[in-house]
Subunit: 594 residues, 2 copies
């Protein structure tokens, strides 16, 4: 398995030196989040990732979760690691202090989540789902429900799930069939079958809090008839002791391509007692309010796996001796040169690096906006920040997970045959990464969200939150000759993005197929430009700091930015041309001929 | 598992109707290869793939090969399937009639290989390796060796392997350490360790013929000191009976990401008796003569898996009901529309289709050239055909395997969460496909072969074999207005390819890093243009045949060609721009900063 060391230096660069996160200091809620505190948290998280999580990653993949007699056993070591995880309070970082949380910015937690997913994505799924349940409940639960469940979810003493999918419905939740019958005591009886439930059952906690989409008897059909319910695995009595099992039965654990240590369950609910969360028939709205955080989280999984793959590939490329540098031996004393001397290997490593670090910066920028939207005292700042989050969440979810998969595969390619062998751990990263392009809304669905919901919202207002700062930045840089070779390609790609936006807005009005047919290429183009913006900002700042370079960190930023602009950003021309061709090459094809 | 039906109609279109293969009729060796015979072979192969191989594919992946007590057991059913395979003579198609072969064109066998790999790639590896050994021996073995071994390899009674890789050497075979000591009787004693040996040990045949790279005692160091030896697993006595085991020990079977039913072995040779094949120290030359066929074969694996994934995705997209067509329900009588109505799903299916069918046509064109190079009576035709093979072999190996992996992943994406589950068989295609980008020379090595060997060879002569027919074709099409929307984008992409070629030729002369840094993008660009050429030819012919359309086959060709030109070929602009940026963004980066 590749050794994993959290990229603390790069995280510090982006968090402290780049200026993307500085407005967090304007939020009174984060008054105690000092730079020293952030560094201390990152150091501790790095240690936890390295010492506790990473050693379990490959073993967990090999053994997988075991389903026996209706319950799920996690791989050896997971129980102990989970106990350490909650003892150290890693699940409490961003939760409300009222329920035992530390009230830290999500931006800090984003970095720890990157480390945990990079060292053991399957493990990190368990607390990740719990936090999703926490957020849904915190946003929509009654005071009574919050009082009973939030503290246990915050501490991680109890785990959570999100039960959406059913055999006949994935993307289209309007097809949900699970039923909820109101009882005279104000609770409900839930009956139905759910599939693909991450952390649906396991042995890490004594109770599991399922958030379940179901239909009330009087529900309108389709998506406007779905309500959200809280259904505990074991009933919680009024004195807060655990009661009987609540009719939630795990009927199967899926055998998957990857994240094999994460229990993906089929669950049967048989007249299970539950509480309504939020208003009747408003379950989808409740889902939507927590979706941005969840999708950012999946994006971070992509980033995390990209980092893990990059580290493994660099280590291998330095050690593996094969062939000679084309201009003559770089290490004549060795039987061959390390493969890092070869241009095509360097091309792969730099592609991996440029995508990974670019994603990290973009993730921290949008996560900061997410924090500002929730905590800044000025409502105008909150609104502007939320606009950016709304706009870029699908770009991050889809873009980063495409990056995770691409970079993981480049990692395998750098290792060659050794990357294909299970022992070396690289191919596991590919298999783990593959799910991130699918769950929490497939990447195609993200693209439709971007063009169908985010672009038209408020007459295109969200776009300003990205276009304005980028345009301002380009205007500022115009005066700096040393930025020219970076700013020009970025400006060109930005021009493509603007033209594509206009086209989609115009054509999409007349014909919804036009917008949908452009969606994926448009999202890709958006992501390419957004990473370009981050790289230009990183280089722009590094040029200022360069005179006092810290071990070559700033030089490397500038050089990677140049690589990105010249060798990666050209992809934007392909995305642009493809989407500008319009829907007819896609829609004219005769369905029967497929 | 997706059902697999061999794409016989498309194979017939490319083989019989498109005109790519018609010069095979000029070869007296193929006088008996009538169209009816070809069709009969394809029908039978399709049946064998469907009925014998496909049912074993998923089971083989699940159980994998078992290593026990020094020998390898293939998955249940493989032995029986292999016996049927040799009984039906599937291994004998192209072999020399002198040794029991049928002497058919490789082009016909290419289509059967596609079927066998599509239905069960791991199985097809076993006879595939045997054919590789057959070819090396047929080209370089003494008459005595040929007499003793070729008939058994042809029939498949004995299997073959290629033993190249060692722990310290993969791409750089100059580092081979395995030694060969000459004996007084003219044989050699081979000692050393080999890894990643496909079909290195198994229970399908009573003997295995290993072709082994090793060094003679007086060998110069490096790549010019490697010789090729034939080392049977069990010695073959002069009366052709099997003698004792020959000191070839399987020490491990690798646990791999995919092709788990193919035994990838570590082999130890302990003073094993063998024969020299070809001249001393000329082992690499012997490898090279068979490399084109082997690399075409790997390309076909990529094509095969792409076809399998496409079929599975189409079936799912027709059956899975989810959401509604954007312009209103397409099937109001159903609870939701099949997902094939959604533009983004159609985009994925058409991308899969365009890449797969384009690759099939290109594969058959180059395979025809391979046949002409070996069998045409006119030496000028042979040379021109061989030029095309030399040039396009790396494009096919790397390009088709990239296609295989991309299409397999699109297949998973169309299935969503169901694609990530092992039961559905789609994720297996991704895992199986991943190796094809690595073995038989990584795709990076293919790119270096293209720019470093194939472009400069004979002052650029090989290029003419591709550029001339493409230019002629474009000139011809200029008169046809109905071809304009296809010919224009192709001409533009071809222009990029020509400019990129000039740049590499010029810059590469001064600085080898320039050519190497451009290699992968150049190979991609080449492949994009080559597929574009195939699509333009397919559409051009389909336009002629359209008045008598066969169930929409010709219309689908024209529409897919349009999709390719407008939505896939734009990738060429990205490949072009990236490579034109030159080596400096890659080579200037400080090695210590990775």
């Amino acid at each position: 398995m590749p050794e994993y060391e959290a990229p603390l230096r790069d995280m510090r660069y982006v968090y402290h030196e780049l200026g993307l996160t500085e407005r967090l200091a304007e939020c009174p809620d984060f008054a105690e989040t000092t730079p020293d505190l952030v560094d201390a948290i990152l150091e501790e998280a790095a240690k936890f990732a390295r010492e506790v999580l990473a050693p379990l990653n490959q073993r967990g993949d090999e053994s997988g979760c075991v389903f026996h007699d209706g319950s799920v056993r996690t791989p050896d070591g997971f129980k102990e690691a989970y106990a350490s995880f909650i003892a150290a309070g890693w699940g409490t970082l961003t939760a409300d202090p009222e329920f035992g949380g530390q009230g830290l910015p999500g931006t800090v937690a984003l970095m720890t989540e990157e480390m945990f997913s990079a060292s053991n994505m399957a493990f990190a799924m368990y607390p990740g789902l719990t936090q999703g349940a926490y957020r849904a409940l915190a946003a929509h639960g009654s005071e009574q429900l919050k009082a009973r469940f939030l503290a246990k979810l915050t501490s991680g003493e109890w785990a959570g799930t999100m039960c959406l999918t059913e055999p006949q419905c994935g993307t289209d939740l309007g097809l949900v069939r699970t039923r909820a019958e109101p009882q005279t005591d104000g609770t409900y009886r839930i009956t139905g079958s759910k599939i693909f439930i991450s952390s649906g059952d396991h042995d890490l906690t004594e109770n599991i809090v399922h958030l379940v989409l179901a239909r009330l008897p009087d529900a309108p059909s389709g998506i406007r008839g779905i309500s959200l319910f809280l259904v505990p695995k074991r009933w919680v009595e009024d004195d807060e002791t655990l009661g009987d099992p609540n009719g939630v039965v795990c009927t199967a654990v899926e055998h998957k391509m990857g994240i094999r240590a994460s229990a993906t369950c089929a669950l049967g609910f048989d007249s299970s007692r539950g509480y309504l969360v939020g208003k009747p028939h408003r379950g989808m709205a409740a889902m939507f309010t927590m979706m941005n955080a969840a999708r950012l989280g999946v994006g971070v999984q992509g980033l995390a796996l990209a980092e893990a793959a990059y580290q493994g590939a660099v280590t291998y490329a330095r050690e593996r001796l094969q062939g000679r540098a084309l201009k003559g031996p770089a290490h004549p004393e060795l039987p061959a040169d390390p493969i890092v001397v070869h241009p095509d290997v360097r091309r792969m490593l730099l592609t991996m690096r440029a995508l990974t670090e670019g994603a990290r910066a973009l993730g921290l920028w949008v996560s900061t906006a997410h924090d500002l939207a929730g905590h800044h005292p000025d409502p105008r700042v909150r609104e502007e920040a939320d606009d950016l989050v709304q706009l870029l969440t699908p770009v991050i979810k889809a873009g980063f997970t495409e990056i995770g998969f691409e970079v993981a595969n480049l990692g395998v390619q750098v290792l060659g045959g050794h990357g294909y062998i299970r022992d070396n751990g690289m191919e596991q990263i590919v298999r783990d990464a593959r799910i991130t392009q699918i769950y929490e809304g497939t990447n195609g669905v993200q693209a439709l969200d971007l063009v169908g919901r985010k672009l038209p919202a408020h007459m295109g207002r969200y776009l300003r939150a990205f276009f304005h700062p980028l345009r301002e930045f380009l205007d500022e840089q115009r005066e700096r000759p040393e930025m020219r070779e970076l700013a020009l390609p970025l400006a060109k790609a930005f021009g493509r993005l603007q033209r594509a936006t206009v086209r989609i807005a115009e054509e999409g009005l007349n014909d919804p197929d036009e917008a949908a047919a452009a969606a994926t290429d448009y999202l890709n183009l958006f992501g390419q430009v957004a990473l370009g913006y981050m790289w230009a900002r990183m280089a722009s700042r590094a040029l200022v700091l360069l005179q006092d370079d810290d071990g070559g960190v700033y030089r490397a930023k500038i050089d990677t930015a140049r690589f990105y602009m010249q060798r990666v950003l050209p992809r934007s021309s392909a995305s642009f041309a493809a989407l500008m061709a319009g829907a007819s090459p896609i829609m004219d094809f005769n369905e029967g001929s497929f």
